[in-house]
Symmetry: C2
Subunit: 335 residues, 2 copies
């Protein structure tokens, strides 16, 4: 029998319906496992092709930060951040806020940045060392803080699309950042709900999930678990144990803890699901100390269809309890 579950503190629901479930090995068969990783000759994100991208405003190299000029690009870098060549938003000068009324429209003001995570084309985040992951988190923090300081920026969306099914159009490892002139509806709704609570609901659920069957793993700084009302199979949340509201608020230790945990979860996805396409997204609010930064990972092994589009309720064929047991390594995908 299936089960209807409600989100921890939002009016969101999912239906856990395992009668419709596939075994994890079947997901792996469908996702087709690893994609070819030979370097195409035309990849603009590869070392040596720096001229093919806009000049990078931040180039990380041996722990220091440099900048390209139009004339000269920095070589032998570790991470490289530049404006997207096809930006969804652009830094136009005359920006006015969205009209609140019907059919409101405003120019697409904002920033759209690419963060290239490695000079090596075929490198996967799950193969990064702990030090490399920690460095990437520091890059993330720098870039979020950079845009946070901009006038008219209300939210910084930081995410990674990996694999075609997750919306990545290039398979060189990279993340993206969009700095927005408005607070997105999803975060606004969360913030309103949190405002009605006495204590941070994330702090509460963190303590609960540490003891639950949905617990995956913890390190000194973070906890990873599958959320009670998981919208998709194998959705994972990573939360810092300390209440921090955005990356700028994170110590180097927390950043390292986050990076290490991302590495663990991506490795588990690889073992259980055969290197699926995935997204991860940072949920954070630099202007709201009551918010609790969290990171959500989503392997793209199921599709949103008519029912989800119609209702906003998600049918999930793998219970988060079962998913957690696989990701902890209790069960092998063959079982």
């Amino acid at each position: 029998m299936s089960e209807i579950r409600k989100h921890y503190f939002l009016p969101e629901y999912c239906i856990i319906a395992e009668g419709r479930a596939k075994r994890p090995s079947e997901f792996a068969a469908e996702t087709g496992g690893a994609e070819p990783e030979t370097r195409p000759t035309h990849c603009a994100f590869c070392a040596g092709s720096e001229e093919k991208t806009p000049p990078a405003g931040s180039v990380y190299k041996e722990g220091r930060i440099f900048a390209d000029t139009k004339e000269k690009r920095v070589r032998k870098w570790d991470f490289r951040c530049f404006q997207n060549l096809f930006p969804a938003l652009s830094p136009i000068p005359a920006f006015s806020e969205l009209s609140g009324g019907e059919g409101g429209s405003s120019p697409g003001f904002g920033f759209h940045e690419v963060i290239v995570e490695s000079p090596v084309h075929g490198k996967k985040l799950s193969d990064f060392s702990a030090a490399e992951l920690s460095e990437l988190m520091q890059v993330y923090r720098d870039r979020v803080c950079h845009y946070r300081a901009h006038e008219n920026i209300r939210y910084v969306s930081l995410f990674k699309n990996s694999g075609g099914a997750a919306g990545a159009s290039l398979d060189h490892p990279h993340s993206q950042l969009l700095a927005l002139p408005l607070l997105p509806p999803l975060l606004k709704t969360e913030l309103q709900a949190i405002g009605n609570e006495e204590k941070c609901p994330y702090c509460i659920l963190l303590e609960k999930e540490k003891e639950s069957t949905r617990f995956i793993r913890e390190n000194r700084e973070c906890v990873a678990f599958t959320p009670y009302c998981s919208k998709s199979p194998f959705e994972v949340w990573i939360l810092p144990k300390k209440h921090v509201n955005y990356l700028g608020d994170c110590s180097k230790e927390i950043l390292s803890g986050l990076g290490e945990m991302i590495g663990y979860v991506l490795n588990s996805y690889g073992k259980v699901l055969g290197n699926p396409a995935y997204n991860y997204m940072f949920y954070q609010l630099f202007d709201a100390p009551e918010y609790h930064l969290n990171l959500r990972l989503l392997p793209r092994i199921s599709l949103v269809a008519g029912f989800e589009l119609n209702t906003g309720i998600y049918i999930n064929t793998v219970s988060p309890e079962r998913a957690a047991s696989y990701l902890r390594g209790d069960k092998l995908p063959e079982e």
Copy 2:
């Protein structure tokens, strides 16, 4: 330059960013055009395989309604409605409402029905005659009214997934219906927003869109247009001109008008996008006369990625004005 747009009356946004656009012919190339339509020997939805499904509670045949028994299945039918063999929700006897509190859970009470639209495996809705489409709408109305009468049912979700990319696991033409014990969050939010308006916002936007560059087509009963804040390329809304809140409120004329318009839009999708996978969903509320029934069609030619998952804001690379001009036939896909 891109543009940030707000929904007609909800706090929802999209970013129209045509700089990132593909031409419609490129979408068509990606979707791969028509899938093979030979009948597999194992299809349970085909004429002659009636024993492979649960007994059908409603079998439409020459304008009359019959029912299967366990022993005897009705043959030579036009439409056939039965419980899904792998239901997401089931009619369990002891049902109690969801607890409103944190981590609420309830048994997966409800109904999950399949509506087979034709005995012929390869038949597409875009090839249906006006009379066949009208009949299908009548079947839809009957089934919605059937579940509406059930105790504890608060919403009936009626939708079609066509093609693998739209979540269809079988390619025999069929729709699905889920009868739910709760009002879904998306509809609840809409209803609250509508409650704050003096006049039905759908009635208002219908009049506006009839005169706009997003207008596609009208018949006596319905209007089709691309919504101002389209979340995906080529999203289409069909609205009855008369204010009706659910299918049970629709005259035979309105049903015929809806069916005819669905046929037109699916044909246009075929011409412009090369037979893409698509979803359509009915938004309707049988208990709320203030709601205005509407049907939304979505070709699955773009992917939701990290940004959309993070913010609830959709990046759309084809403006609804351009999409409407293609769907009206003003422009050819080659242009």
